[in-house]
Amino acid sequence: MGASVEPLSESKEFMPDSVIVARGLTKHFGAHQAVRGIDLDVPRGGCFGFLGPNGAGKTTTLRMILGQSPLTSGTLTVLGLPVPAGIREIRARTGVVPQADNQDPDFTVVENLRMYARYFGLKPAQVAGRIDELLGFLELADRKDARMRELSGGMKRRLSIARALINDPELIMLDEPTTGLDPQVRHLIWTRLRQLKSAGKTLLLTTHYMDEAERLCDQLVVIDRGRIVTQGSPRGLIREHIEPHVIEVQGEGIAILPVLEGLPGARLLSVGETHYCYAPELGPVLARLEASPELRYTHRAANLEDVFLKLTGHDLRE
């Protein structure tokens, strides 16, 4: 405890109570540069988001924070402790919800939680009450004795979250926590994550669902090709990067672009068969569209997805 953080004169936004401080973080796998010089200050409390396309370096960064992947260069301090020297204590005070559920398939729900507690040095008698509480919190109380194969995907993910909370962590890292889940479960998980935030926990969330990031994150960074492209609050980023009006037009590309080209201040972007028109004024856009009744369009407010598309481009990443 009490490892001091090096003074950082250059960083204007440095906060003394940062839960994670990274400077010049890089990670190379042979010739592949997965993370290329990331600086982070994750404040205590609230939800901090890592947004980025697949392969952007989000999971690699999480693995470095957990000491599961050695840094190629840079410095990293988590909960005031240096990585990798302080990793045991960092992990003792952190909860992790992995991207793929990895409970023990041979154990029941409650056995999984008891065993996981033991890895933290907590005996079953010490955590019996806590396990009941967590099963209630994640609405798994009636599935307590179920085997893993009897659980749906949503139940397994809720168990992953319960398991991540078994050591009453200060920092909770969630790697795409709602990927592949149905809307009901996603809403339950979002509600619980907001409750954890109100209880003073710090959440670190990776996602490529923009609606999820907008709902949960107080601050976020957009990562692309191993670098931070931008950071701020969801609303701040939308205001900063996107025009007030967004018109989405569906259809084959060729006919649409001539219709909307040359509007003053408007920006056009095509992703697959969807075409986005970002405009300072709505009137001129609608006037043009109404002249082409074969086009279907919707007008909506700017959201984080627009920021994401603008900053990370729109080519398919795999």
Partner: protein
């Protein structure tokens, strides 16, 4: 390929949590586990022991049934640790992602490898004991000294755990284990003195067999089971310990590389 972290293993007492986890899982899967490591040797014992035993009578002053039983006990200890170190470690490392889950807790890779090694040896004892009981009931064993073979089963388990975990650390898939079982485990089972004395082999084969560990395991277990005096016990224990140590070090180094990248 990342550089190897060749620092000496630094396991902590939390490594025993890994043993506990595996014991709890083993208890749930007791049936298949015992059927696998118990059924096969007992079939050999009954088939070859009663069948061939009629013709062979005694080998080196030991009834063939006892000779064979002691060899099968050593081979079972080898097989149990080898299969656990390869298949089960590989499953926990890849398909189940158990180690990924554990590496989000204060445990580290060195604890995992130490725990798995101890567990392989423990399982060698757990799955060999029933065969010891059956062999005794069938009249193959008449001496209390056979109980002194139990710690040797543990040592044999340690000896084969490390190399098996190294193989798992390099394995791209389950098929890879065929190389190790076909090239090393099966030849040891056939040539190291389970079924007949090593002295009947050509000299060059004897040299190879004596470099490999199973013959040393049998050289300890057979006299204890048959109630004979041990010959060169320190040499045999030394060879098994040396394999155990080198295997454990290599297992730690290569599992580190596989898990921490």
């Amino acid at each position: 390929m990342t550089t190897l972290d060749i620092a000496l293993p630094r396991p902590r007492t939390q490594a025993f949590t890994i043993v506990l986890r595996n014991v709890l899982v083993w208890r749930k899967l007791l049936g298949p586990s015992l059927a696998f490591s118990f059924g096969e040797p007992v079939i050999y014992l009954l088939g070859l022991g009663f069948g061939l035993g009629q013709f062979i009578g005694e080998v080196n002053g030991i009834p063939y049934f006892t000779f064979l039983a002691s060899g099968l006990l050593a081979a079972t200890a080898m097989n149990v640790a080898s299969f656990e170190g390869m298949f089960s470690v590989f499953t926990r490392m890849t398909h189940q992602q158990t180690y990924d889950a554990i590496l989000a807790t204060p445990l580290q890779v060195d604890d995992i490898v130490a725990g798995e090694t101890l567990w392989c040896a423990t399982k060698s004892v757990l799955n060999t004991l029933p065969i010891l009981v059956v062999a005794t009931l069938l009249g193959a064993i008449h001496n209390w000294t056979a109980l002194a073979a139990i710690p040797i089963f543990f040592l044999v388990g340690l000896c084969f755990a490390g190399p098996a975990i190294v193989v798992a650390a390099f394995a791209p898939s389950y098929d890879f284990f065929t190389y190790y079982t076909t090239l090393l485990i099966t030849p040891m089972f056939i040539f190291s003195g389970v079924f007949y004395p090593v002295a009947t082999l050509p000299v060059i084969a004897q040299v190879i067999v004596n470099i490999l560990p199973l013959s040393h395991a049998i050289a300890l277990i057979r006299p204890l089971v048959a109630g004979q005096a041990l010959a060169d016990p320190l040499l045999h224990v030394g060879v098994l310990l040396a394999y155990a140590m080198v295997g454990y070090l290599a297992a730690t180094i290569f599992i580190r590389r596989r898990l921490i990248a």
